[in-house]
Subunit: 274 residues, 2 copies
């Protein structure tokens, strides 16, 4: 495997939660990090036009826009509202020049215990969004989330399920492989190989032992138990040689550090661990 | 599906953590709960002989003994020590008249990032334990744990993987289906059907939204999002009509309640929700 340099690093802006999008863009430029993945709340805060100009002026790539999805809802009205918002997300992905729009598909609708129905809603929602996404040439990246998020964030929890959805839905939809969500999967190697040609992103961080919070206790690469080089090998064997995103939610540790020191650590670990 | 009564209820003693094993046995007798599943630490606290006598004197069944497993280790010495302890666990299961010994198989050995190797250690460990277990006619029940425990507790995280292990290892080993660990699995129905003839236990509690702690924030049946009747139907369709265990780890809620009130709630929910 070729040595990894920051030439392939994309900063997911959630990693440096202490920074605004403006600071993230300036930080990427300052540290020669060539790409970023902005979250939409930070994008709206700065303003799409201003953000687009800043990203271009600094010569940055946008590995993805985070995020569309949340297709599930208790009724037709909620699902239509979600679809409208997803179409806006596609437009914003186009405006920012993102390589894809990441989809966190949504969990059980309020009051529901029917995960099969939620999964149908997701399939139908992506299917409906695809018309607009294809017309805009904006690939949709399904991100399977860890099963611990099945209820409240995403009911697509395995690469196998994401691959099935891609098979069913056809062109214009692929997969974002996030190490944190899929490292435990006994079918990991098989399903990454099966995703050949449809891998739209590779996200890294680490699984800490112990993990103190389901959502906000992700680890820096190297501080946990995920065999990241093995996973990079699988992803590259499946033909993905694009940007690798660092996405770390860490309320009690990294989000409390100085942003510049955090950037330096991210780069150092990116080049030495993965 | 027939109505569920407490005639099929087994109390996993971890549910009433505020009680000693002696109090659990007396509690089951007092509330006409016909069975329990003792944890080994509580069993040792009371003493195996005393416990066996009390369980018999009160006419209780033992749905399982919790737990053997933890087969993985950094070296041969640790793995042999685990195996020795597992043989003792088999003997204790025999002594208490348990229907099976539940296996929580173990996670990554200290310092390892090789989950494939851990899984091989688990297969080999169960294989070695089976000689003794078969000689004692004590079935071993592999309990797939939720993927969020892959690193530190059990690297068997799906029913599919547990079924594969049973296929490979042959007679004397089956599966404990715990709703909490497997409810999210898109292959749930298929893999429960595949487990026909080897289901050795069915454990229930509920998945809370939000879940505040990975280990100790399980919900009472009915307070979460798991479709327990649907899962009972699958398990019964696969031929399992035995005892159903209630196993709730709840440090900040149920473990703080009065034990008798908790027992009453367990029975009421067992009969109305599942």
């Amino acid at each position: 495997m070729p040595e990894l340099t920051k030439a392939r690093l994309s900063l997911n802006t959630a990693t440096v939660n202490q920074w605004s999008l403006k600071e993230c863009i300036e930080g990427c430029a300052r540290y020669c990090v060539p790409a970023l993945d902005p979250w939409r709340d930070k994008l709206h805060e700065l303003g799409v036009d201003t953000a687009v100009k800043m990203i271009k002026d600094n010569g940055l790539q946008v590995s993805a826009l985070c995020r569309g999805g949340m297709f599930t809802g208790p009724g037709e009205a909620e699902r239509q509202a979600a679809l409208d918002d997803n179409r806006t997300a596609v437009d914003e992905a186009v405006a920012t020049g993102a390589n894809c729009l990441v989809l966190v598909v949504g969990g059980l609708p309020q009051g529901s215990k029917d995960i099969g129905d939620a999964r149908s809603q997701v399939r139908d929602g992506i299917g409906e969004l695809l018309d607009h996404a294809r017309a805009c040439n904006m690939p949709l990246a399904i991100e399977p989330l860890h099963p611990m998020f099945a209820a409240d964030r995403a009911c697509v929890n395995t690469l196998s399920h994401a691959n099935d959805l891609c098979d069913e839905l056809g062109d214009g939809v692929g997969i974002a492989v996030d190490a944190y969500h899929v490292w435990w999967d006994p079918d990991l190697e098989k399903e990454i190989a099966r995703a050949k040609g449809r891998i739209l992103g590779f996200h890294v961080c680490d699984w800490l032992v112990p993990t103190k919070d389901l959502l906000l206790d992700r680890g820096m690469m190297g501080d946990g138990v995920i065999d990241l080089p093995a996973m990079r090998q699988m992803v590259e064997d499946a033909g993905y040689n694009g940007l690798i995103e660092v996405e770390i939610f860490s309320a009690d540790n990294w989000w409390k550090q100085d942003g510049d020191e955090l950037m330096e650590t991210v780069i150092e670990r990116f080049e030495s661990v993965i």
